[in-house]
């Protein structure tokens, strides 16, 4: 009987309506993304960066090739040369193909000097594929973002 009354008076539906009505005038949850940049965790693995020594400005990379070895996609190419004087390996070039990157973070984990690092920069869109392969210069500078229309990030 109770059940019948509930059905007749649409109790189930009215309960749902009450819930949605409560929500109508509640604070919204979403972020207005390009206007409002998300706060990413410090561990977030985004755009790669090749770090320089903050004091001397020289690269931290010792061209050990570990990152290239561990990379599942084989997308890191490290070029090195042996310095005839100090018998040290010197980095000549370094490319990182972000279009194939899994962002698994194995390269930064394995790096002995914290040279390669995945930063919190996540807007990696580019207009063509070629510009997704980053060379050493770009890696050291950080990602030069593609801007759309009026610059949302300023």
């Amino acid at each position: 009987m109770m059940d019948f009354l509930r059905r007749i008076f649409f109790v189930d539906i009215l309960k749902g309506l009450a819930l949605t009505f409560r929500y109508t005038y509640r604070k919204v949850y979403t972020e207005q993304y390009p206007l409002e940049k998300p706060k990413l965790a410090g561990r977030y693995r985004g755009a790669p960066r090749l770090n320089n020594d903050p004091v001397t400005g020289e690269t931290l990379c010792i061209a050990c090739d570990l990152c290239a070895e561990i990379c599942p996609e084989d997308l890191i190419v490290v070029g090195s040369q042996r310095d005839p004087e100090s018998r040290k390996k010197v980095l000549t070039h370094y490319t990182f193909d972000t279009s194939r990157c899994l962002f698994c973070g194995l390269c930064q984990e394995v790096c002995p000097t914290n040279a390669i690092e995945l930063t919190q920069d996540f807007e990696l869109a580019a207009y063509d594929r070629r510009s997704m392969v980053w060379d050493r210069k770009q890696l050291e500078k950080g990602w030069d973002r593609i801007h759309f229309g009026k610059d949302y990030h300023k």
Binding site: I13, T20, F21, Y23, T24, R26, V28
Partner: protein, 370 residues
Amino acid sequence: MIEILLIYAIIPLIKIAVIVLFLSGAIAYLTLLERKLIAHIQVRLGPMRVGWHGLLQPIADGLKFLLKEDIVPAKADALIFTIAPAISLLPAFLVFAVVPFGPPDMLKDFLSWILGWFPFLNLDPETIARIAENSIASGGYVTDINIAVLFVLSVSSVGILGIILGGWASNSKFPLLGALRSSAQMVSYEVALGFAIIGVLLVAGSLSLVEIVQNQQQEQIWYVFVQPVAFVLFFICGLAETNRLPFDLPEAETELVGGFHTEYSGFRFSLFFLAEYANMIAVSAIGVILFLGGWLRPFPNSDWLSFLDFIPGVLWFLGKVFMFLYIFIWLRGTLPRFRFDQLMQYGWKIFLPVALGNVVVTAAVLLAFL
């Protein structure tokens, strides 16, 4: 001469133009209202970019529809495919020919004021008064016909044709299924809807929408209190008639992709879209007139509420329509969708018998006590 021209041609034409324009705007902003309201139900913001809080979004959408490529599928029946959206949209607008937005003397003061501003018409005050007195000119409606309810029912069922033809002419399977669903759905719910209205007609004793409202004024009560069952039925069947959730089976996008308008794009799609929202407004308007006393304030004629009289009737009317629409959208944000066979079962096994019973009970009560 000019008096007759004014009463029977010029003023009605102007009224038609105003209503069509107003309706188009209302539909456009109804879409915005729907998006915003549903967004807020779902703890998000909805359109925010075009204009302040997306206020210009409907215009941007309209432009987008107009600029898009109009695709007619290669194997579609091109003629029917092209005219189907128009068939669907026209009846939705036609309904408003008989919808009274306000009382018969709504424009009386306005007309007598504005006609004086046209010196080239050479109207003397008496003619102006006569024109303003004439309810054809001064009524808050385009026309008042004595079979308005029948007119509404018959015209609105033409709109289904557009959906069926559009779904059929697309020559595609999902639209065909959508068209089949909608024809079955509309036919079955039209019956229950008709019987729900009959209850009101019995009480009102008239088929004219204006008279129905006037009767509510005389009896000092909205018919929703006299005919609550009919009102609930009308509301549910109205949802079904306008293909709104939980009865949006013809266009259930998670099942039939887009239902009858899967193959439509650009401007033609927007016509279907407009028709759906025009129908929503039409059903709400009819519902307000039949059950919620049209342009009347709550408890008409009871003096203790007379301080509400300063609000013009047309605003009462529009406010109630807005409330209806709000509930339509609110329901959409809350409920899941029925299945096709369940919909038919509800229609024939529950709503129709209840509506019939309502008619019988109403008639019996009327016979016994009046």
